[in-house]
């Protein structure tokens, strides 16, 4: 197992490498800044995997359940979702507008000996040539300026038989209390100002936007946090965090 990073020595500034390495460590430290993401990760990967296995007729107990599926991971950060999906056999393209996130992601994937195509780009700049079986927009739509346009671009990147997965935050009194006051101010999980409540989107609004891109919601679930057990679980309660899958309708 290679413990060294495979960065070619000739053209890379060592100070830059050190910076990205530190950033990568921050993302991948399960007890560090990204701890909440590490905690919720198994649950969301499980839901994505199970939905994909139903859709593409795969065995979720296989260690290569996503073999050969082309997956676009939008807003991939340092690859917390891309790497597990790649390990399950998928061909993953991870995109993120942040150059440093992409550098950190590449560094970690090399250390894990995983082949993942990371690109510092956005869906708008993806061009029209590539199509994916699975397009993932996890915790992204609450950060974009035009949700309709964003989802239209995502839809254009799907194969006709493909599936989209969107996870985001609902705009309710409860989500204001929990996601803004709770997560940013009380628990300090997230830096203040991470989320703007007014940009949160209700499941109905999301379904409407998807519909305009000729997609319909096929499955949906709420995701709830139980503080006492320190545990995330799936729930019918979609008042705060929720996920949906969408497919083309004819």
């Amino acid at each position: 197992m290679p413990m060294q990073t495979n960065v070619s020595p000739s053209t890379v500034d060592p100070a830059e490498v050190a910076r990205f390495s530190k950033l990568s460590d921050e993302w991948w430290d399960p007890n560090g800044k990204m701890a909440p993401l590490h905690k919720i990760n198994p649950l969301r990967i499980g839901w994505i995997r199970d939905a994909a296995c139903r859709k593409f007729n795969r065995n979720p107990r296989s260690l290569a359940s996503l073999e050969g599926l082309r997956i676009l991971d939008i807003g991939c950060g340092a690859g917390l979702l891309s790497e597990p999906l790649a390990r399950l056999g998928a061909q993953v393209i991870g995109i993120d507008p942040s150059e440093s996130n992409i550098a950190a992601a590449k560094m970690h994937a090399a250390r894990s000996s995983l082949l993942i195509d990371y690109r510092a780009t956005s869906v708008e700049e993806m061009g029209n040539l590539e199509r994916f079986d699975l397009v993932l927009a996890m915790e992204v739509v609450e950060h974009v300026t035009d949700v309709g346009l964003f989802l239209e671009r995502c839809a254009a990147l799907m194969k006709p038989s493909g599936m989209m997965v969107v996870s985001t935050l609902n705009r309710t009194v409860k989500s204001f209390a929990l996601a803004i006051v709770g997560a940013e101010y009380v628990l300090r999980w997230l830096p203040r100002g991470t989320h703007q409540w007014s940009r949160f989107i209700t499941p109905a609004e999301l379904a409407q936007h998807l519909h305009k891109s000729r997609l319909e919601v096929t499955e949906q679930t709420g995701v709830v946090y139980t503080p006492f057990a320190d545990r995330w679980s799936l729930s019918s309660d979609m008042d705060v965090n929720y996920m949906v899958t969408a497919e083309a309708y004819s």
Binding site: M1, M3, P30, P42, R49, R87, L88, S113, A229
Partner: protein, 418 residues
């Protein structure tokens, strides 16, 4: 793009070997599973002790494919009596009797339920089970190393495990299955909470003239519980508690004197007795590790906890660790996750640590309740046991609890594959 994947298990007892086998069954050839223990060089095993395997443990061994191999050596416990006696009592009235089948909902002996009735436990000599597990591990491609783990170092994405032949193995996870005095636990700096009892357990196998008919007996004598556990043939395994000094004195006695002490406690209902193994005294204690996990490290079995043998649950707690850890690790790998990462191991810890403490506290309470001479306490506990004996629903709950089939049961203990 294959990453090299490996899990190293330090310790080749029941827990380590069963875990290796479960991981191999769940993960296939994608992971290399290594068991390191110098005692693996001694084959066949010469362990003279015997263990009670409850129904849940049997389910696990069935899924792992070793039960059919050891079944001829397993004595079903079909009946169990509990008495509360003074040494000098001529008669020992039974306050609690269990006719012992685990059935789904009704009385313990009804046969018209959907699940076939099964004995709630079997007694088996350790050596048969260890040999069957080792052979199954070899057949399943588990890498057995006759080395001790001498050190480990965390490298963020892997743990580097050093063996005493000098080799270093990079692994995703190191499992400490190296027993109650776990060197790996100590090396990881994980402290334990617990205490020593002022009691030792004398372990000996005896043969007797008459058949035991699969009946287990537990006599609550003033010095502590005295358990007669049936083995195949006209033999029984004893777990005999005494104050520490007294235990040392008894095991050192010449054979005839030892037999007299034995008969005084055992009684003569099975005819003449003879010790088949050299009696040995083990100091009894209780502890639970303050954490069941560390950085890329998980503790299972006696390395994580040792409890009073009063209820015969020590091994079975360990098997529950094995089943839970195997399930957690296999689930994680099926999600493409690194099985040595903290969130994965935390699921194991949440699942097992509380359950273990509850069992530890319950067995400690039993021991305090029974190991004394107070007449008042004796009356209270006998009324309690007598009541339990007359209430079939309560008894069934106790039997299910004793069989390990209550609470959040891991898939392997329910007899399901991973």
């Amino acid at each position: 793009m294959a990453e090299y994947q490996r899990i190293v298990i330090g310790g080749g007892g029941f827990a380590g070997l069963a875990l290796a086998l479960a991981l191999r069954k769940g993960l296939g050839t994608a992971f290399e599973v290594v068991v390191a223990d110098p005692s693996l060089a001694t084959r066949p095993s010469s362990d003279p002790r015997a263990s009670a395997i409850i129904a849940a443990g049997r389910n696990l061994f069935e899924v792992l494919g070793v039960w059919s191999v050891v079944a001829p050596h397993a004595q079903p416990i079909v009946d169990m009596i509990v008495t509360d006696s003074q040494l000098e009592d001529v008669m020992r009235p039974a306050f609690l009797t269990f006719a012992g089948d685990v059935t789904s909902s009704r009385g313990p002996t009804t046969s018209e339920t959907d699940a076939p009735a099964r004995p709630f436990a079997h007694m088996i000599e350790n050596r048969f089970l260890i040999d069957a597990l080792v052979n199954a591990c070899v057949a399943q491609g588990v890498v057995l190393r006759t080395c001790a783990v001498t050190g480990f170092e965390n490298h963020r994405d892997a743990i580097a495990v050093t063996l005493d032949d000098g080799e270093t193995l990079e692994a995703r996870l190191l499992v400490a299955a190296d027993g109650g005095r776990s060197a790996l636990r100590e090396r990881a700096g994980i402290a334990t909470n617990g205490w020593e009892y002022d009691q030792s357990g004398i372990v000996v196998t005896v043969s007797h003239e008459r058949d035991h008919h699969g009946r287990a007996e537990e006599h609550f004598l003033p010095a502590g519980p005295f358990a007669i556990l049936p083995l195949t043939g006209r033999r029984s395994s004893l777990v005999w508690t005494e104050a520490r000094d007294e235990a040392e004195r008894i095991v050192a006695l010449p054979a005839d004197d030892f037999r007299r002490e034995l008969e005084q406690r055992f009684g003569l209902h099975l005819g003449e007795l003879r010790a088949e193994t050299t009696p040995r005294a083990f100091p009894l204690g209780y502890f639970v590790a303050r954490s069941f996990i560390g950085d890329r490290l998980a503790l299972v079995g006696d390395a994580a906890h040792v409890i009073h043998p009063i209820a015969g649950q020590g091994l079975n707690l360990g098997l529950k660790d094995v089943a839970a850890l195997a399930e957690v690790l296999v689930d994680a790998v099926r999600l493409g996750l690194d099985p040595g990462q903290a969130p994965v191991l935390e699921r194991y810890q949440r699942w097992r640590r509380f359950d273990t403490m509850a069992m530890g506290i319950a067995t400690n309470g039993l021991n305090l309740l029974f190991s004394n001479r107070s007449a008042l306490l004796r009356t209270v506990r006998d009324i309690g046991l007598g009541l339990v004996d007359r209430m079939p629903p309560v008894k069934n709950v106790l039997i299910k609890q004793a069989a390990g089939l209550s609470g959040e049961v891991p898939r392997l203990l329910r007899g399901e594959s991973l």
